[in-house]
Amino acid sequence: MAGGPSTEQLLGLYADMLRVRFFEEKIDKELFPAGLIRGLTHLYIGQEATGVGVIRALEPRDYVLTTHRGHGHCLLRGSPPARIFAEILGRRDGLCRGKGGSMHLCDTATHFIGANPIVGADIPIGAGLALACKYLENGRIVAAFFGEGAMNTGAFHEASNLASLWRLPLFMICENNRYAISVSLERSSAVTKLDERAICYDIWHEEVDGMRVREVFEAARRAAEVCRTHQQPVLLVCNTYRFAGHYSKDTLRYRPAEEAIEMFREHDPIHLAERELADSCEVPMDDLVALRERIRREIDEAAEMALRSEPPPEEWALEDVYAPEA
């Protein structure tokens, strides 16, 4: 553990992962089956270590962008969980006044510039934000999360080239969960060693076991340091897995059930952290159980608060189309 996070820090990372897991489980097991959520929701269950490890390595002033699978990132940046639930439920107290929903969460108070469900779109937007940071010399960096599917878009290629050419402080995080909806990495990508794609853009890169939060956190700290200090883009590939389907109605017919079971049994990031806390750090099991219960209660209360929020009034529909002239 030398140089890595202390027990206290690991406990913090563990608590963050639980917060995300319980948030998503609330949707998966209660709100969605009850018919309270319309449209699509994409759950982050299984990928918690990547979001937690990376976001905890950032500074509060930094910008974060992500994909349609963005509840966790939004929560980790510090938005009140009740307001995220309210947005996903389409209520007036939602972060975006009920206009964005699950796939378009945004909170400028935490510099969470948002979830973006056009695969790959957040990478050039992130590069543009990074250009602004460099131009204004404000010391911020921009963390843009995307899945391995996004690496096959033209947006990734164009933005990587430009970010490197112009030496922009863009922290690219590829969350490789192995499936772009239903198509596996092997069936979609000629080069499956994803971090090596950075070589052709002359971009600093690293690959990490995305199921081990401590390793992600340490790698993300290194990456953020390079990005901020040297004003250059970095690519961190986190190899992870989503235990749930791509979205709430996914039949999962494209992957063997045993694969998910095996991944959950052997590589669940929360279980791995828990084992380390209990075995290596000797944190009493009772403390961990108490922590779990406390976080579960927080999430339950947030969901209840969100459910008390009313739907937005019709007249909001035509507001916010344009910014008013100064």
Binding site: K99, G100, C106, P124, A130, L131
Partner: protein
Amino acid sequence: MPPKPEPGMREVAYALAVRTALTEEMRRDERVFVMGEDIAVYGGVYGATRGLLHEFGEKRVRDTPISEAAIAGMAAGAALGGLRPVAEIMYCDFLSIALDAIANNAAKLRYMSGGQLALPLVIRTSAGGHGYAAQHSQSLEAWVAHIPGLKVLTPGTCADARGLLKSAIRDPNPVVVIEHKALYETRGLMPAEERLEPLGVARVARAGDAVTLVSWSAMAGVCLEAAEELAREGIEVEVIDLRTLLPLDIETVLASVRKTGRLVVAHEAVQYGGFGGEVVAQLAERAWGHLKAPPLRVGSRFAPIPFAEPLESYVLAGKHDIMEAVRGVL
């Protein structure tokens, strides 16, 4: 023939009018910067950004690789980060490559965030047939004018090329400015003094009482030529240059049609599904009782723009089509 300079006016090429707007706004506001293909060292394929690199340096005048998706996406990101980007997409035909960033992102991020975000950015591009064949000649204003969240400007004069662009740069929203490539080298008048032109205000370019003729971009100039010829036949046409399609000043058109009772809308874009249909529909909905004849549209024929001159001339709408339509509503 360019009009004679009047007091307080200055004769310039359209490209210089664009460059004047960029220069003035970059001097005024440090956050304004320009990016695009061949705009810095080369000065833009039509010279609209010539000299900017020398005055403002590489930080604010940025040549990009041929990456339209990233140019537009990064402009959106830079706007989110507090800058005022003016990005150039060389031909509006290439909007197809940049359209996700423009139509799905720049136009919608403010709305989807419930008003938290603002995207003050300008996309400059060029339209119009000029001997470049099917992929460098289209007039695609209807593509972007269909998207809530965007503003769409189509300057057809030097005064507007400068004044509307200046307003676009100061606007807190994403604005697509569609210039016309046949105009860049033409000369016209712009105010000697700095002047902003308001968005959503049409201009009555020529007064008349027989027919209302609505147009924008270079076609507004063609309409004026047609009107002069028709005047020799005793037909006094009122020519309205919309100048901006989004926001649209339909009131000026309504007022004119209430007077003339006859309407022709002319544009260079393909007539089928063109923005002229929107103008005619709004007039039909709101001024039906004033119309003495069915309104007519003039637009290009339903084909990609061909290369050879006689073919291009045949496909593109022009002065004679306009004159025929005006006679047709009388």
